[in-house]
């Protein structure tokens, strides 16, 4: 099943696929970040991956990775479930990481992208409301990056960064 999908992707977007790692535990395909929207639309509409389970950012020493886990669900097709299919996007630029949003393709990406922005500082171009949702706007640093200073912050340090009420 997955082989066919990979074949389909290779035919349709030959230049978009960076690699298909063989040793991965879940079927994985690495997509160039410029083509992620087209590939996503294709996977959603033509293949039927209508359910984006989650998105995760990973901070590797050489690059950022954003992982999309796709499944499919429908009204009745318990037997015809696709997935999982992991799409990976490498974000090579570590200083100003950015990639296109998929929040209009899978609305569930809306909050997930906010979360990744909040924790990794990866900007999703075209996201309608990209803001920090767990930390406050102006929190120093991106907590889940590996270079984040892992220590106790004092109140005095953080207080000036906090937005003043009303802040909605």
């Amino acid at each position: 099943m997955m082989e066919e999908i990979f074949q389909l992707l290779k035919e349709k977007f030959p230049e978009a696929i960076v690699e298909i790692p063989e040793e991965a535990k879940d079927p994985t395909v690495v997509i160039r970040k410029e083509q992620i929207r087209e590939v996503s639309l294709f996977l959603r509409d033509e293949v039927g991956f209508n359910y984006l389970s989650f998105m995760a950012g990973v901070d590797l020493p050489e690059r950022f990775e954003v992982v999309y886990y796709l499944y499919s669900m429908g009204r009745e097709p318990i037997s015809s479930n696709l997935g999982p299919l992991a799409i990976k996007v490498y974000v090579e630029d570590k200083t100003n990481p950015s990639l296109p949003t998929v929040s209009d393709i899978w609305p569930s990406a809306f909050q997930q992208e906010q979360e990744i922005y909040d924790f990794f500082g990866i900007v999703f171009e075209g996201h309608p409301d990209l803001r920090r949702i767990f930390m406050w706007e102006g929190f120093p640093g991106w907590p889940l990056r590996k270079d984040f200073e892992n220590r106790t912050f004092t109140f005095k340090e953080l207080e000036p960064t906090r937005p003043k009420a009303p802040y909605w």
Partner: protein, 369 residues
């Protein structure tokens, strides 16, 4: 109304200190009269950085931390984590451990559903009665958990590779007794609440979530199945020993608050069916595989998921070969389910927002992590 009366919109802050936002959730509502025009969820009041904390701990030390994600159903959190780690390290837990896990997970599901129903009625204004009845039955379940693991709510019982210890003597007869009682309690709640005309009026046709929207927003669990989508990880991607049990995935067509309530009741009964089978079939044998205390799984990444009471709960783990996870990502059920809140509340009244939120059934520990 033919002529709409123009009124000034007011911005109402619901939460973080509000009796029915289920914790420290905050909604910024824009109201026209009592009708919701806009809703903006605000998170982060319970953010503890669990993902970051877990990256600094070994695979075993992260188990007590997963307990504190969705503190209502700690057992399933551990279960999901164990499934992920076992997939990562290639461990196969023994048979008896799998059965114990299923028993614990199904008890947790019942516990969560009864509390969800109870708190839904609290939001509806039933002044604590269903909640306290549910608390009462929950206490019996928690007694079992305490008996087996030593702690009511933070059991730290299901570990990668098995469970912490075998079931104590007399556990299974007591559990069977409790299952019989829970059948009765389900029926009692059914007569108590299901036909209540006030509840029907409040809940029918409120917060309707169409299946397409539900899928697009990644909603899982009872909320999804109440919209008529037959999707359950236990059947879609069977983990543990769920493929051995005979049970159904109930779905309901309307996707309103009432259906979400009803679906929890139906699922509760299916869980009891699983429990009856599991308690009968449980084999003897060891309960834990030999797993080193400092587990060093091979390099790679993995996503392990289970059907938690609230929906799909998964852990995305990236290992770099060391004894600590390189990336510890939680796929939080409540957080993803909450994404659809704005979509289904706009146009309803203030009183409906709280019950829609209650019917989605969130735990802030899992939303904010």
């Amino acid at each position: 109304m033919a002529v709409a009366l123009k009124t000034q919109e007011i911005v109402l802050n619901m939460g973080p200190q509000h009796p029915s936002t289920h914790g420290v959730f905050r909604m910024v509502l824009t109201l026209e009269g009592e009708t919701i025009v806009d809703l903006k969820p605000v998170y982060g009041y319970l953010h503890r950085g669990i993902e970051k904390l877990s990256e600094g701990r070994s695979y075993l030390q992260a188990v007590p931390i997963t307990d504190r994600l969705d503190y209502m159903c700690a057992m399933t959190n551990e279960f999901a984590y164990a499934v992920a780690v076992e997939k990562l390290a290639g461990i196969k837990p023994p048979e008896r451990a799998e059965y114990i896990r299923v028993i614990m997970a199904e008890f947790t599901r019942i516990l969560n559903h009864m509390m969800a129903i109870g708190f839904l009625f609290n939001d509806l204004g039933a002044y604590f009665t269903p909640v306290l009845y549910a608390f009462r039955a929950r206490e019996h379940i928690l007694d079992l958990f305490e008996w087996a693991s030593g702690s009511r709510m933070m059991p730290n019982y299901i570990r990668p590779g098995g469970v912490a210890g075998d079931l104590p003597e007399g556990f299974i007869p007591q559990a069977k007794k409790l299952v019989a009682h829970l059948w009765k309690f389900a029926d009692e709640l059914d007569t108590f609440l299901s036909e209540n005309e006030i509840f029907l009026q409040r809940a029918r046709g409120v917060g309707v979530l169409p299946p397409e929207v539900a899928i697009a927003y990644g909603v899982t669990g009872p909320v999804l199945r109440a919209s008529g989508v037959k999707y359950d990880v236990r059947r879609a991607e069977p983990y543990s020993v769920y493929d051995r049990f005979d049970f159904e995935i109930p779905t309901l067509p309307n996707g309103d608050v009432y259906d979400r309530y009803m679906l929890r009741l139906l699922e509760w009964k299916q869980s009891l069916r699983i429990l009856e089978q599991a308690l009968d079939q449980i084999p003897d044998g060891p309960v834990s595989e030999k797993v080193p205390r400092r587990l060093r799984p091979p390099k790679g990444e993995v996503y392990g998921r289970i059907e938690a009471p609230k929906g799909e709960l998964g852990f995305y783990l990236v290992s770099d070969g060391s004894d600590k996870p390189y990336r510890f990502k939680i796929r939080p059920t409540s957080f993803v389910n909450l994404g659809v809140l704005r979509e289904i509340t706009i146009g309803h009244k203030v009183a409906d927002v709280v019950i829609i939120l209650g019917s989605i059934d969130i735990t802030m520990g899992e939303v904010d992590r």
